[in-house]
């Protein structure tokens, strides 16, 4: 293999990935332009820079309150789904359950059903139980669609699991409980956390289920944005979007620093 073809392959690899990143970030660039553009509609190229959309966003109580609510709900959903999903994945792979395969497909099904039906069905059940859209109902609805993600990623990690580490620990005298907590759990942590990131994002950005489960004065940000947009489609929603991105990214970065996501990629 000549040095030239080596470089060509490398160049192709990086170019390809660069193009993919550009594809992923292009709409965000557009949203940023929209958030700063003085025109009241999305237009390209931009005609100027203005901060009035951000000002409008921060001045709007509805936006701020709902942003805060969305963040809190997302954090709770993150934790709940990591616990429930991680445990479930372990049970399915290690528990020797009969029908584990069918169970796995079953746990995936919330993702296959249009969320509007899930939301409506949950709403109906809450109404029949005489509960008028409690906040925990919203959390439950989000967790329902978040758990499959954690399940998926944890299962994927478990599939490539090198059980010799556990064997080694057992041979060295560790009790099954100790092996579980000090070897197994840390090793599946990457999968659980990757799923947790999904869970956070999915909850933060969740729309159709929230639509049915939010009480008045308890709306999440996507719902507020959508209602705003049906009536007034202007730069304020782009500003809202940019703020959400920055906030949510900060949360993810925080997770990264504290838990060390980089470490999860390697053993």
């Amino acid at each position: 293999m000549s040095a030239r073809s080596f470089d060509l392959g490398r160049a192709a690899y990086y170019t390809l990935n660069g193009a993919i990143i550009a594809f992923l970030l292009a709409p965000i660039a557009i949203v940023a332009v929209f958030a700063l553009n003085p025109t009241p509609y999305i237009s390209f190229p931009p005609v100027g820079i203005t901060w009035r959309w951000f000002a409008k966003f921060f001045a709007n109580d509805d936006f701020m309150v709902s942003l805060w609510l969305s963040l809190r709900v997302a954090v709770v959903v993150l934790l709940l789904s990591m616990l429930i999903g991680g445990a479930c994945a372990l049970a399915l792979v290690r528990g020797r359950l009969p029908g584990a395969r069918i169970l796995t497909a079953f746990f995936m099904s919330p993702l296959m059903l249009p969320a509007i039906l899930t939301g409506l069905a949950l709403f109906q059940v809450f109404q029949l139980a005489e509960l008028d859209r409690p906040v925990w109902g919203l959390i439950v609805g989000h967790t329902l669609v978040a758990v499959p993600y954690v399940l998926r990623t944890t299962l994927a990690v478990l599939a490539n699991f090198d059980t010799r580490v556990e064997e080694a620990a057992a041979i060295l005298g560790a009790s099954p409980t100790r092996v579980f907590f000090e070897v197994t759990l840390p090793l599946i942590r990457p999968g659980v956390i990757a799923g947790g990131i999904f869970a956070f994002i999915v909850s933060f950005d969740q729309f159709p289920i929230s639509l049915f489960l939010v009480p008045p004065k308890g709306e999440t940000l996507p719902v507020v944005l959508f209602n705003y947009m049906k009536f007034d489609l202007d730069g304020a929603i782009a500003a809202a979007s940019m703020v959400s991105i920055l906030l949510a990214l900060s949360v993810v970065l925080l997770l990264e620093r504290v838990i060390g996501l980089k470490a999860y990629v390697k053993l």
Partner: protein, 304 residues
């Protein structure tokens, strides 16, 4: 791989039990099962029941069982088309997301620098955080007749009339792929990251080209991730309706969009429920079949 699970209950590697019994770990499925039974099976069950009734028993005590919602679906090829559109868009989106997501996942998994990894992670996650509605409008800005792509191409003299990139299946797929590539990348990157690089190295040392080492070592080992990622994206894209709605005009009618129409403007919960049941049933069949086929190919068992 499943072998150790048998011996963990005992502290010493003694004789294996004749028939492996359900391990105590199985109880960990409890919380998930509880959550799902109460908040998924129950609500969805009521919806499925509604789909065979002539009305809503909560509102109207005089209801009877009727297959007319299902008959309606079977009887009109508009609805069959909607189902095929849904599946077709799902498959195309999944393949595209896989092709686009894999290189990125590979790069991210092999990235050595922590900063680089963090930056890539942010770049991958940021699209997911834009918010479904705003993101769709951003794509409209890019794809519409007077959007970024068309104005640039026309400005450069490469085309005369704007390309129809929106209000059709192409625009919908592009927008969906954009949303789901991050899911694919994040699912794959963990799995690829766990593949010992030395295996690839060994193959290259034995004379294989980079490409061959990838094809015969990395790729097969990342199959569980590919499986998990594509199932996830497929499931999501066949249930998506906000994006196709805002991107496709009436050119694209998928089953989820039909469900949305039935719920929000025809107020026909029975028919919507029937469509939901049909969508779920078909998707489960496809998913299980996919599982079997891929499991057969990769020799993997125990990962649905």
């Amino acid at each position: 791989m499943a072998s150790l699970a048998d011996t963990i209950p005992g502290t010493l590697p003694g004789p294996r039990p004749a028939r492996p019994s359900v391990s105590p770990i199985a109880w960990l499925v409890g919380p998930a099962l509880l959550l799902f039974v109460v908040f998924f099976v129950l609500p969805f069950g009521t919806m499925a029941v509604l789909s065979v009734l002539s009305g809503n028993p909560v509102q109207n005590p005089n209801v009877h069982v009727t297959p007319r919602h299902y008959a309606r679906f079977l009887g009109d090829d508009l609805y069959h088309d909607a189902l095929w559109s849904t599946l077709r868009i799902g498959i195309i989106t999944t393949c595209a997301a896989l092709l686009i997501g894999y290189p990125l996942a590979h790069w991210m998994a092999r990235m050595k620098s922590r900063l680089g990894h963090a930056l890539l992670l942010m770049a991958v996650i940021a699209p997911m955080l834009t918010g479904i509605v705003v993101r769709t409008f951003a794509w409209m800005t890019i794809l519409q007749d007077r959007g970024v792509i068309n104005t640039t191409l026309i400005g450069l003299g490469l085309i005369e009339k704007p390309l129809p990139l929106m209000y059709n299946e192409l625009g919908t797929v592009v927008a969906l792929v954009h949303i789901y590539v991050p899911f694919m990348v994040l699912t794959l990157t963990g799995v690829i990251g766990r593949i010992d690089e030395r295996l690839e190295q060994a193959a290259r040392n034995l004379g294989a080209s980079r490409l061959r080492a990838f094809r015969e070592v990395t790729l097969p080992l990342s199959l569980p991730g590919i499986l998990a990622g594509s199932l996830l994206v497929f499931a999501l894209s066949i249930s998506a309706y906000v994006t196709p709605f805002l991107m496709g005009g009436t050119n694209v009618l998928t089953l989820p969009m039909l469900i949305y129409q039935q719920v929000s403007s025809s107020f026909n919960l029975g028919f919507a429920g029937a469509l939901g049941v049909i969508l779920l049933a078909v998707s489960l069949v496809v998913v299980i079949a996919y599982n079997h086929v891929l499991a057969r190919f990769s020799g993997q068992e125990g990962l649905t």
